[in-house]
């Protein structure tokens, strides 16, 4: 049975009447055309689909749309403030912390969530969190550099 789910996506109120078992990933991509959130594995192993659900990083592939009912979702498309990139996006861009870039949305969302929780993460915090994210091009050294570059910048701005 279809169900109406209403939630906030990137600051906008959205609602969708659909099978409540559909993944948040599919609804974001298919119904809202927010395709910045990527499918990589469908089992939470690669985190290319990371979005913020009430500020916390979740794999959208394992999150049903009904899990998001009355909640707040932020996707990669909701990070920038107009033309101004979020400091984590800025750091990834400046560092060139990607090759194919398919993991990048999820990586950036993962870092943003980490910095929401711990504005001054230790190296151990960073590695235990980022360990969940896969980059098949193995840009890991560059991503770590970008994260270290982002931390002081992100502290200067209010995390959304």
């Amino acid at each position: 049975m279809d169900k109406t789910v209403a939630f906030t996506v990137n600051g906008q109120s959205r609602s969708v009447t659909t099978d409540p078992e559909r993944s948040l990933l599919d609804v974001l991509r298919e119904d809202f055309k927010l395709t910045g959130t990527k499918y990589g594995c469908g089992e939470g192993q690669c985190r290319a689909c990371t979005v913020l659900l009430n500020g916390k990083a979740v794999p959208a592939c394992l999150t049903t749309v009904s899990d998001a009912d009355k909640q707040t979702v932020i996707t990669i498309e909701g990070l920038a403030n107009g033309e101004t990139l979020h400091p984590v996006q800025e750091a990834f861009l400046a560092e060139g912390a990607f090759q194919c870039g398919y993991c990048t949305s999820g990586m950036i969302m993962g870092v943003v969530a980490l910095l929401n929780e711990k504005p001054n993460p230790t190296d151990a915090d960073i590695s235990s969190r980022m360990q969940k994210h896969l980059c098949r091009c193995c840009s890991y050294p560059r991503i770590l550099k970008a994260i270290h570059q982002a931390v002081p910048q992100a502290q200067k701005t209010t995390a959304r």
């Binding site: 055309k33 194919c100 990048t104 050294p141």
Partner: protein
């Protein structure tokens, strides 16, 4: 014809294509997907080589390569794809350099068969040595036209004119003329229709202003903001999402399938064409329900299939004519003869974006957006499957989520197109991770048999090296050995196999460099000294010596620390040179090897973009740690046992060792592609470090302590 590209190398991309045939007269569907027993050569007309010998025809004239707009825009057309390897930046630099404009003036259109010249498949590290020069040639030709135009206007000698920042000038004349002025003049603009002259002068390396710099990816901002549309992100009006019914095991034949249950689901379209069965629906979720209904209703007849447990025996038994070692005299005279067998497991590319395609039919013509390394080969595959003329098919390749040699074939595109045809609407098909691990072609497994003789002075007197099943890349030894024979011998592949970053160079370099280490030990020589004593190639010597020096090899090899080992390896392939020294730690109780430090030197001629090169080398090393240490596709009864990221553990953040990368720039040499060769040295260096740490020899990839053998 563009004569600027150097002659095509003898480079074959072995990929079995799925023999989809949706012809109207012959309604057959030849399924070899996963059958695994058919070699490219044995199925003419069905299995085809990827691309047209990798080459393509190139641009027929300057205008086909570069469009100079009257509005000042500069658009460059290339048939290559961007899959993360950095071609977009590099080709932009190539055009900008020769046109003498800043890189941000150039808009690069890549891999749209409706717009770009056929530059062949993006594979074999070919963009750098072939397409970059072709683009430079066209840019230099256009620049020369501007100079000719200006000198004619000003009635001065062309040699007194130059182009800077897109403007032609001549010292005594105050005016300048731009590319806009050129194209606004009809006669001058017509000159762009001429073939690209072969004798045009390219900018010397020492004059480079854009090439040789660290230009970042031109569309990077769209990547970090989630705006870039990958093939799986393309949406068309009224588009449906597709799923395809797969066999439960390799080679299984569909006996029957009752479509009623799937058809009964509202909004689900079922498409059946002989053995091809799939669904399309307004959401992927609904399509998944349709597929589940089909899976329940399908009856299959399985066929026997070898398992990964018996793989190496199987490959050896099916080897097609392994030659005997003919160096009997050297063997008889030798002080020592060594003989070893090395194994390399099947691996999967697992690009983070699985195969994806969106297909749309309009008036009998087909447009497909796809992630493929082979746009024109893809077009040919689609044309063949649907019995269309090539020009009735357009393949558009948005920058996609990686390939690593794994996206040469067009099955997802053909499947999407067949579903779209049946549904009468555009269809997006994205393979699941499990499909990608199971039904995409694999990096071939190898059995490598090697035999060598040593004289009393520790010199290698003969070398006999046979690669069974995985390929000929880097099969020849780079060492100076009087009598040597190296050969690739085909077998019956147990899985459908094809290209992978570096092709068989990884397997061959693994076996050769491990065997060289065993020979060094037998000769009681230091592994570095032993290699150098047999090495004349100065480029290979240079990387080996650089890596060893950066690592402090001579000191560290003498240190004996429990559970710590060092090893080295080197190799060459596709015109570039690599050497790696590694330090590992071993935990025998946990059967675990950790790579702590890698010092790698790499040389590929003149460096086009140092930052992109560094990323390629770093990425290749870390990616290479996967098949070196863990990745191994396991299968039994025709089913994959580890078709997921949970079970097949590719490298993650904590696998990243300390990396010292030494990039040797050789501005005096032509640039070679760097996407592949940096991956080949790390695995044998690790295996050799296992010996240093434990005294045991690891002779299989992935390298396991539990599998290491007596030296």
């Amino acid at each position: 014809m563009n004569t600027s590209s150097p002659a095509e190398p003898n480079y074959d991309e072995l990929v079995e294509k799925v023999g989809y045939d949706f012809g109207l007269k012959r309604r057959t569907f030849v399924q070899i997907l996963g059958a695994g027993f058919l070699l490219t050569a044995s199925m003419p007309g069905v299995a085809q080589r990827g691309g047209r010998r990798g080459g393509g025809g190139g641009a027929k004239n300057i205008a086909a390569r570069i469009h100079l707009g009257k509005d000042g825009s500069i658009t460059v057309f290339v048939g290559k794809v961007e899959a993360g390897q950095g071609a977009r930046a590099e080709l932009t630099q190539a055009a900008a350099e020769e046109l003498r404009v800043p890189a941000n003036r150039v808009q690069l259109i890549m891999a749209d068969t409706g717009m770009v010249p056929d530059d062949g498949i993006t594979a074999g590290s070919g963009t750098t040595p072939r397409t970059v020069p072709a683009v430079r040639q066209a840019g230099a030709a256009a620049r020369q036209l501007l100079i000719d135009f200006a000198s004619k206007q000003w009635k001065v000698d062309a040699s007194t004119c130059e182009v800077r920042d897109g403007q032609a000038s001549c010292a005594p004349i105050k005016q300048t003329l731009s590319y806009v002025d050129l194209v606004k003049d009809e006669d001058a603009a017509r000159m762009l229709e001429q073939a690209i002259p072969a004798d045009v002068t390219l900018t010397a390396v020492k004059e480079w202003k854009v090439l040789g710099t660290a230009l970042s990816r031109p569309n990077g901002r769209n990547i970090v903001s989630g705006k870039h549309q990958y093939p799986s992100d393309i949406a068309r009006p009224a588009m449906l999402y597709g799923k395809v019914l797969r066999a439960p095991s390799f080679g299984a034949k569909l006996i029957s399938v009752d479509l009623a249950q799937a058809k009964a689901i509202k909004d689900v379209t079922v498409v059946k064409d002989d053995e091809f069965v799939g669904v399309a629906a307004p959401t992927a979720f609904l399509a998944g329900q349709g597929l589940a209904a089909l899976e329940k209703a399908a009856k299959w007849e399985s066929s026997p299939h070898p398992s990964s447990k018996e793989l190496f025996d199987y490959l050896k038994q099916h080897a097609q004519g392994v030659p005997a070692n003919a160096f009997t005299e050297e063997l008889a005279k030798a002080k020592q003869v060594l003989r070893q067998t090395y194994h390399v497991a099947y691996a999967q590319h697992a690009p983070l974006e699985p195969r994806a395609a969106v297909a749309e039919w309009t008036d009998g013509k087909l447009t497909v957006w796809a992630g493929t390394q082979n746009p024109f080969g893809h077009r040919a595959e689609l044309a063949r499957a649907f019995h269309l003329a090539d020009d009735a098919v357009r393949v558009i390749v948005p920058d996609f989520g990686a390939g690593f040699g794994g996206k040469h074939s067009g099955e997802a595109s053909v499947e999407a197109a067949r579903l779209a045809q049946g549904a009468g609407k555009p269809v997006s098909l994205r393979w699941t991770r499990e499909e990608e691990f199971t039904w995409a072609y694999f990096r071939p497994a190898a059995v490598i048999e090697s035999e060598a003789s040593l004289d009393a002075q520790g010199g290698i007197t003969s070398w006999h090296f046979i690669n069974i099943n995985s390929g000929a890349s880097a099969v020849e030894t780079p060492y100076k050995i009087e009598k040597h024979h190296s050969q690739y011998v085909q077998s019956s592949p147990a899985l459908r196999h094809g290209s992978y970053r570096g092709l068989a160079a990884t397997a061959n370099t693994f076996a050769r460099e491990c065997f060289m280490d065993e020979l060094a030990a037998a000769a009681e020589a230091d592994p570095l000294e032993f290699r150098l004593a047999h090495l004349e190639n100065i480029r290979l010597r240079a990387v080996l010596e650089t890596a060893a020096k950066g690592f402090r090899w001579k000191d560290r090899v003498k240190q004996k620390t429990p559970n710590i080992g060092v090893g080295l390896a080197c190799g060459t392939e596709k015109g570039s040179y690599v050497a790696a020294c590694v330090e590992i730690s071993v935990d025998r109780d946990q059967d675990r090897i950790s790579v702590r430090h890698v010092s790698q030197a790499y040389e590929c001629g003149a460096i086009l973009n140092p930052d992109n090169l560094l990323k390629q080398v770093q990425g290749a090393i870390i990616m290479g740690l996967g098949p070196a240490l863990r990745e191994e596709m396991l299968f039994e009864d025709g089913r994959m046992l580890n078709a997921s990221f949970r079970k097949c553990q590719v490298p993650r953040f904590d696998d990243t060792p300390e990396l010292d990368i030494h990039l040797l720039d050789r501005p005096d040499l032509a640039s070679a592609g760097a996407g592949e060769t940096p991956i080949i040295a790390v695995a044998p260096a690790i295996a050799n470090a296992v010996f240093h740490a434990t005294g045991l020899r690891a002779r299989s990839m992935p390298i396991k302590l539990s599998g290491a053998q007596k030296a």
